[in-house]
Symmetry: C2
């Protein structure tokens, strides 16, 4: 029902809307990898369900679930969650799902299906194989009867891009220029592809993302566009933390440039939580599997409050039972987004799998 379109969104008058624009709904994937999520993924499943239930108060949520987990997921999820069977390799629909683009004249919504290689393929990827993940975008488009653009050769994850919907894209150099993604392309060629497929004019390249982020520092863990001209930035005041220099470079880049409309950016500093380390118990709950990145005791997690999801009228915000910074994050975000309700969800079990709430969600814009 959904067919592959051979042109590109820019030529067809489609653009990727900002996440803060109206949604038709949100997609998620049920976690189950026991070599990534501890204790048979049960604690992660509970956390994903918390996110889905919180989200479903603001927009329709579809949860994609494998054959083997289907009945278990149906049991845990409230009936307002649409559950559809789908095979995947892991649960990060931000990176494996389609990037939806819209045509403001006709109202049509289409998908963009990037190549997915598990954040780095055989060179640098986090697991093998990833063939099921690479089908997720097209399968979602088929379910929704949306036509799609498919880039056979261009590797990209949805978590490595943030747009304002008005011509500006923000990315990180560490990820998009990493040799495990598109080493055959120059930076200019990558820019050209992004301009065509997201329909943007200006690309802001942050040098780096969040310290030790295993996605090669996805942009969605360090910043979030909350409105055109308004960005929140993961930050730390601790000059001895390696994150300080990384966030400072991003801050200087963001405040030293203008967006596609020529506007200066308003930057809200969103202080990161106190360092989150994997405990012995947490590490021991994860299956050791050849080819999958291990989860070792003492590993610092790339914890950041910027990895939230903007739903219709609300923000689903990861929190960490951090007495010092959770409340500050909520207050900062409420200041940046005065018209949105800030809904905190305890997200340590998601973080332990290598991402957070933005990584496990994918908005479908309203047509």
């Amino acid at each position: 029902m959904s067919k592959k379109i051979e042109s590109n969104p820019k030529d067809d008058g489609f653009r990727m809307p900002g996440e803060f624009e109206p949604h038709e709904g949100c997609w998620m994937i049920w976690p189950e990898r026991t070599d990534n999520f501890r204790l048979g993924a049960k604690p992660a499943q509970a956390a994903f369900a918390d996110v889905a239930h919180a989200l479903s108060k603001y927009e329709p949520v579809t949860m994609l679930v494998s054959k083997s987990q289907y009945s278990a997921a149906k049991e845990v999820l409230e009936p307002q969650i649409r559950v559809i069977e789908m095979s995947t390799d892991d649960a990060w629909v931000r990176d494996t799902g389609p990037t939806f683009v819209i045509n403001d004249v006709t109202g049509e919504v289409r998908g963009v299906d990037w190549r997915f290689n598990a954040w780095g393929g055989l060179l640098d990827g986090l697991y093998f194989p990833w063939d099921q993940d690479d089908k997720v975008a097209r399968k979602i488009c088929d379910i929704e009867r949306k036509d799609y653009y498919s880039l056979e050769e261009f590797v990209l994850e949805g978590g490595s891009i943030h747009v304002d919907g008005e011509g500006t894209l923000i990315v990180t150099e560490t990820c998009l220029l990493h040799e495990s993604r598109n080493p055959q392309l120059t930076k200019n060629e990558i820019e050209e592809t992004l301009k065509q497929y997201l329909n943007v004019e200006k690309i802001i390249w942050l040098p780096e993302g969040i310290y030790l982020d295993e996605t090669n520092e996805h942009v969605d863990n360090i910043i979030h566009y909350v409105a055109p001209g308004k960005v929140v930035l993961a930050w730390t005041d601790d000059v001895n933390d390696p994150q300080h220099a990384m966030s400072l470079k991003a801050y200087e880049m963001l405040t030293g440039t203008t967006d596609a409309k020529g506007r200066s950016l308003e930057v809200f500093k969103l202080h990161i939580p106190n360092t989150v380390l994997v405990t012995q118990e947490e590490s021991e709950g994860v299956d050791i599997v050849d080819g999958t990145k291990p989860r070792d005791e003492g590993d610092r997690q790339a914890a950041s409050y910027a990895n939230f999801y903007i739903a219709n009228g609300a923000v689903i915000l990861p929190v960490f039972n951090d007495e010092q910074y959770d409340k500050l994050a909520i207050d900062t975000l409420q200041r940046a987004m005065p018209d949105h309700r800030i809904v905190p969800v305890y997200a340590r079990e998601i973080l332990l799998g290598g991402g957070n709430i933005h990584c496990i969600t994918q908005q479908q814009p309203k047509g």
Copy 2:
């Protein structure tokens, strides 16, 4: 997204529409059981694809495909076919999919999820297990965001019922009263359940169906409601064929009764094809598996032209390269349905799996 409704369609003002009423689309399942379909199910897949492609000219078609066959099916199916991943035990969505009911006042469509036990469970069923098949109805409702009624204890297959949408239901005693379905219920109790869940007032019980039909003689292989008051009946003039007496009993029942509106039924005799026997080559192409009904050389198949599908404005009719009866069937059906285009599809490979075009399709009525 779709929730279970605890009442029943009759109490809520829903009824099962006739198949000849307008459709939103049609559901199918991709065949792959190598213990039921010969040569790795490849010839059956080609036939199912023929049906899907023919059908898709008249209404949207969704094909449900397992993880392992997903890429293969996508390759064969034309892009107008919506392909959705789903685990099943076999490919008979008439029997495993939901029976849709509509509310003529609100336009709402809901599903009825009967219990499925592979045409007889451990007593008389055709394969084991059938747990994935028994989830198909609810999964389809979830995809379509349709609420559904679920009968935890009542076994029924969609192929064992035919309605006129105006209060009349036709079934066979051999199937519905078989001890492998609902032996705990009396005929009266079965009638009461059907009246509630299909919203019918009159049930016409044919004594039997098609000779050697492994479904315990489903009604959809011997008759088809083509309009209120109009039925086609599989027939043979050969008095030495066991089918003759079976069809005669049905003819006498149909012509000797009236429907829920008090009308006599107009019955069109649709002559069956010449006897179809499994060849040695066909039998040898099927894997022998414990617990699955074997396909032996010389087995007579329950071939019938009545096992067609009524799409929006067309009939997809199984034919068998039978020089004597194919043309007669087309002509008879065109006489019975003068406003529909009759589209013949060669269906021997479907028949060899134990059913035909009506068995592998499930209409979703327009709300």
